[in-house]
Amino acid sequence: MAVCIAVIAKENYPLYIRSVPTENELKFHYTVHTSLDVVDEKISAMGKALVDQRELYLGLLYPTEDYKVYGYVTNSRVKFVMVVDSSNTALRDNEIRSMFRKLHNSYTDIMCNPFYNPGDRIHSRAFDNMVNSMMMQVC
């Protein structure tokens, strides 16, 4: 269950950010922003020739005391960043991977929509629903 999920475009501007409504939404935005550096660092470390071999899932980008940030990059340099509460220890790596996979699938579906211009903010309801299903259930 993520606390914040963000989709960042290739040019590093956000296409979609959704946080569990808490008071610190801005903090999450900031966290996602700083995580982009780590993402870029991980991408560049792979080397140009190995783009194909680069794993899409980047894993834990960096942990803080409150939460952990996971990253995922597509081959078109669209980044998915997920902030997860650190106290949520039940989340395993493969669960995070599956969440990213679902995000990627939904993103692909959005791309298939001819009415969606790549680069626009994402306003898809289906995407929203999917993200909501992955967010922390704050009752």
């Binding site: 194909d52 071999q53 794993e55 899409l56 081959n75 996979r101 679902k102 990627h104 699938n105 692909t108 579906d109 298939c112 929509n113 001819p114 009415f115 969606y116 306003h123 898809s124 309801r125 289906a126 629903n129």
Partner: protein, 796 residues
Amino acid sequence: MEGLTLSEAEQRYYCDLFSYCDTESTKKVASNGRVLELFRAAQLPNDVVMQIMEQCGATRLGYFGRSQFYIALKLVAVAQSGLPLRVESLNTVKDLPLPRFVMTKNEQESRHTALYSSDADNSASYSGVIPPPPGRIQVKKGSVSHDAVQQRTSTDQQESTSPVVSPQQSPPTSPHTWRKHNRHPSGGNNERPLAGPGPFWAPFSEAQPGSSTSSDPIWSGHSPPPHQENWVSFADTPPTSALLAMHPASVQDQTTVRTVASATTTNEIRRQSSSYDDPWKITDEQRQYYVNQFKTIQPDLNGFIPGSAAKEFFTKSKLPILELSHIWELSDFDKDGALTLDEFCAAFHLVVARKNGYDLPQKLPESLMPKLIDLEDSTEVGEQTGEVGYSSSPAEAPPSKSPSMPSLNQTWPELNQSSEQWETFSERSSSSQTLTQFDSNIAPADPDTAIVHPVPIRMTPSKIHMQEMELKRTGSDHANPTSPLLVKPPELPEENKMSSSVKFTPGNTVNGYSSSDSYTSDPEQIGGTVTRQRSHSGTSPDNTAPPPPPPRPHPSHSRSSSLDMNRSFSVTPGQQQAGVVAYPPAVPPRPQPSQGAGPHVHRPVDAEGLIAHTSTSPQQIPEQPNFADFSQFEAFAVSGVNKEEDDEIETHSEVLQVEKPPDSASSLRVAKADGRVEDKAPANVPTSAGKGTTPLAPPPKPIRRRLKSEDELRPEAEEHTQKTGVIAAVLASQPSIPRSVGKDKKAIQASIRRNKETNTVLARLNSELQQQLKDVLEERISLEVQLEQLRPFSHL
């Protein structure tokens, strides 16, 4: 209140209704709101409702207790039956049908009642919504409205029982949609908006004489079986009310809803069915219209409309892009970026609905879901005609398609999941294979066609040598093992590459390069452009050869390995595999110092020479070095002193002379086996010299040393005066010198190469030992330091 006696069915029914109305879960009081909705859904005039409420005592109490609720329900049934509302009638009217409410029976769908509550008011407004058939619907509905309330209710029930499918899935969506749609097509049927598939009270549907056969199939399969059965039982009760009079068929059938014989015409059925899913239901006219529009874009009805074309088309509707985007999301069922006919019709329908003010649903209504391939519900057949009203237009839907909505709903999640899986697969597949790209550097630029210039990087110049030899062989037209390669060029290119690479690898253990070399050794091109072969090596993407083992740390095997190759070839003619097999044995001979690592450039020449030799007697090739060594040994043995180039030449000349081939070969091998860095005592030399004709006598060490000295000597001045007459004697004893100068030269060069190889080997050994020595010294120093540190403490 007089006591209320309820039949078992009634009891159950009322209980369910009560629990539905019991929003606060008090188990005692039904929330007023819900109850009112319920009563409204009963489609009774308001005054009747007031009467009921009064009579049941709710007005008095101010709330609906369970008993009040039950009484109210009974009164509703009474009213719906057309009987006057009397409290006394509660118990007197026998076989009263259950009160009919235009809402879905399912508790889940109780939410929907809210929607339906407004239906009655909005029914009339729908007619204008859907462009094509509205009038018709209106008319039809109007005709229906002529009928008694029962008729209407029956139609309501029909609609309510619209076969729509899987109640489990649709309900969540329809409520939303319905709430938003305040205007519902009521057509003659107040009820309506059924949209929600939901379990309908079967009895009602059964009661519908007009139940369309179309709806039958749908109903049959979709209503929850338990409910259905329950409700079916109701139908069994012999109807006494006027309403029941309409059910003669149903009574007879006694089967599920489906079997209700419909007295109404199919038109009415269609009409009713079409009114079910309003506004999501696509009527025939609409469907036809959509199909025509589809044809204007894509003539093939089974084809797709690409996303861009669809975008243009729907943009013309002047809807905001965001909504169009949402419509697309809903209608593109398979998420492929293109619209099939069904998807297109659904999208068009949504556009039309939106333009008419309907809000877009969150999920695609079942009626709009494109029919996937024959999904066989558990339901029975149901006529396909019945499905006319549904989105699966008869034109498109193959007759075999049953009301597949429920199965659609069921399969879709599976499809989704599978698509996810597929997507995951695709993700994984994105990892490209790591093609070894090592040969890019190795593309030999040697323009020489005849001579294969060994690439410096390559550890296996011998391959080139082999190629040369192959060339020679082909030229010499011998039944060499390579010839078969030539014979079957087409098959071999790969095999050769593989085999040759394999061959090379064992011999040279130069894997990275061997593979590239293998490509170069394309037999097809052996005769021709070896360079071309080489160039292929770099570009050959066909790295099918298994990654060769790490290259051996001895780059100077070329000669020996090449010779081994020769031997392997000779041993296994035409058998590349065998050649491969033969290759490994070539490894041990590595320490063949005699086979000096001559300059690569020379190698080709030597190769030629060797090839020439081998042409006559392949066996001689491997022995040549031996001979050379042997002769060298012999020369040394004879001379017992430093050798000269002349000696070497003589020895080389003696190579031809198989003076003691076996011995020399064995001695050589022994020498090689023992090949060590150790320098044999020079004392051995004299001893060996003294032995003269028994080069074998001296232990390998001396031989080794001699070789070494030979190597050392070689770079020295070529001309060395023989120191002793022994050498002269040796010379004299070498009448073979004049025999074949060319061969001598080649032999000399071969020996040079070998010696050089030996040189490098020994040099390497030397360096390694030096390194070890350094390490050991360092260790020693560190230990000493530690000892000193500890020493002071030792006194403590």
